[in-house]
């Protein structure tokens, strides 16, 4: 039971990071970007690629399984994921934007997500891979509860990122512009905001967080080309549960989805675990379609 809760919080924090990016881009760009989950996969594999190119030139930072090379690789992966997101926006979404039908964009994002997954499959193959083969020793925290150092790192990093992002949205000009744009794009322009620039930054931030989420997934689970496919429902469930555009809500939503998934195994066969986010999504859409918190970028304090 305790172990299930710890596992749930862990996978919940990874879902949360991905869902933050999703909720920001949904709130500001105003469409359900199905390709967002593939950015998570892309980020995870870009870090793997960089790691393979540079080699393990330094040992791990005890007690973690990774060292400086993976941290550097993650930074490069964030840049490469942001680049992919901007390229997709420019090549696919930009020509579709402003057209009468909003669904065109959603379908476009479906196509993009398949394409990205296939590219990853082509380059990296379909098998499971790991950043490191170092075996970690789980630390017994309490009776019946053991946690890997990497998992502690994942939780800590998620907390730091959430706080930093909150401060960014509340205190900086760009953060304020993002919140203004999310509420009313035309009024934002009337107020002097160059919305194209803000949209670009939204992609960069959302994609960078997706990359981090992917690396943490690879670190604590494993790398497979289907990461994004498996995260798609949890990400949407978390973002919608928390209220579209609401960063804080996405974090809570991510934790709820992660916990529900991991606790569900106690009562239903493990094979049905993947259906849990779907049930949550249905339940939220049925009971409270706007999510638990009002959906405004940076809202709900």
């Amino acid at each position: 039971m305790l172990q299930a809760i710890a596992d749930g919080i862990l996978s919940g924090s990874i879902i949360a990071l991905g869902a933050i990016g999703l909720t920001l881009t949904m709130g500001i760009l105003r469409f359900a970007n199905f390709a967002h989950a593939e950015l998570v996969t892309w980020g995870a594999y870009m870090a793997l690629g960089v790691l393979a190119l540079t080699g393990a030139f330094m040992g791990p930072l005890e007690p973690f399984s990774f060292g400086v090379p993976l941290i550097m690789a993650t930074l490069v992966a964030m840049v490469l994921t942001a680049a992919l997101a901007l390229a997709i926006d420019w090549l696919v979404y930009r020509p579709l934007r402003g057209r009468a039908n909003h669904l065109t964009l959603v379908f476009g994002s479906f196509g993009v997500s398949l394409l990205v997954r296939m590219i990853i499959l082509l380059i990296f193959g379909g098998g499971a891979q790991y950043y490191s083969n170092t075996l970690q020793i789980a630390i017994p925290v309490a009776p019946g509860l053991r946690i890997l150092p990497d998992q502690v790192f994942t939780l800590g990093l998620t907390a730091v990122i959430v706080v930093a992002l909150h401060l960014f949205l509340q205190k900086t000009r760009l953060g304020l512009a993002m919140r203004a744009l999310a509420e009313n794009p035309e009024l934002a322009r009337v107020n002097g905001i160059d919305t194209k620039v803000v949209v670009r930054w939204t992609w960069i931030i959302g994609a960078s967080l997706a990359a981090i989420s992917g690396v943490l997934y690879g670190l604590t689970v494993q790398l497979r080309p289907e990461i994004g496919f498996h995260l798609l429902l949890p990400l949407f469930a978390a973002a919608i549960l928390g209220g579209v555009g609401n960063v804080f809500g996405a974090v809570i939503g991510g934790l709820i989805v992660g916990l529900a998934e991991s606790l569900s195994v106690l009562v239903i066969p493990a094979g049905y675990k993947l259906a849990v986010p779907f049930m949550i999504l249905l339940l939220v859409l049925y009971i409270r379609p706007t999510g638990i918190f009002a959906g405004t970028v940076g809202g709900a304090k």
Binding site: E183, V190, I193
Partner: protein, 243 residues
């Protein structure tokens, strides 16, 4: 006649390029002049203002500000040509605080200028200062209008465009808003506003244009318009028509 501050010449514009809503509208606003546009619903009054603000695409005609052509100006660059616009509805960010609304309005300014002018804005509108950390969504209609005007003035525009600033306000608030606009003109700001409340608008503005079906209909000094039979019979009716 002094050179106009704003000169709109034969502007054709609409929501879609193939479906013009205004068909060649012309008007001028002199420096420090208050000009009103009236006309029946759907005449294209809002469309004209949005076209000048660069929100709707202009397919023919020109817009000049102080002699410089600004046709199809990107909306976010309005402040750089000393122009500001207050939309009719949804003119404040309800999810942001009053202070944040003003900060967003000061996007075009340096941080120092922004802080100084927001402070000055609070002096002019003490009510706003009282609620500075409240979400703008809790403000009354009149307070929102004040916030929207205070926001538009942050960039110290020479031309302020307002779309129905009195819509939905109580009679007391209407006269308050109009008094403030009049005081603004006295400080050297030119105003171009759309008004449904035609009687009040004619009473305080210098000149009035009447639009109908996307075209200029009549224009002239507001006092003459108030007694113009065609205007009074068609557009004023019983105290101006409401939405």
């Amino acid at each position: 006649m002094t050179a106009p501050l704003l000169a709109v010449d034969g502007v054709v514009a609409g929501y879609r390029p193939d479906l013009p809503i205004i068909h060649g509208i012309s008007l001028t606003v002199a420096p420090e002049e208050m000009v009103t546009i009236i006309g029946p619903n759907g005449a294209g009054k809002s469309t004209l203002i949005k076209a000048v603000a660069g929100i709707l695409p202009i397919s023919r005609g020109t817009v000049r500000l102080a002699g410089k052509e600004i046709t199809n100006l990107p909306t976010h660059r309005m402040a750089s040509v000393s122009m500001a616009y207050v939309p009719q509805v949804a003119n404040v960010f309800t999810t942001l605080t009053i202070n944040e609304n003003l900060k967003v309005g000061a996007t075009a300014l340096s941080k120092e200028d922004a802080a100084r002018r927001i402070e000055r804005g609070y002096e002019a509108f003490p009510d706003l200062k009282k609620f500075r950390h409240k979400k703008a969504g809790v403000l009354s209609g009149g307070q929102r209008q004040m916030l929207a005007v205070a926001r538009a003035l942050l960039t110290e525009p020479r031309l302020l465009m307002l779309d129905e600033p009195s819509a939905g306000l109580s009679p007391l608030m209407v006269s308050d808003v109009f008094q403030r606009l009049k005081a603004l003109v006295d400080t050297g700001v030119a105003i171009l506003m759309v008004e449904q409340n035609a009687k009040a608008a004619l009473a305080i503005s210098h000149r009035t244009y009447v639009f109908a079906e996307g075209r200029n209909r009549i224009d002239g000094p507001s006092q003459e318009m108030a007694s113009n039979e065609e205007v009074t019979s068609i557009y004023l009716g019983a105290g101006g028509r409401k939405r």
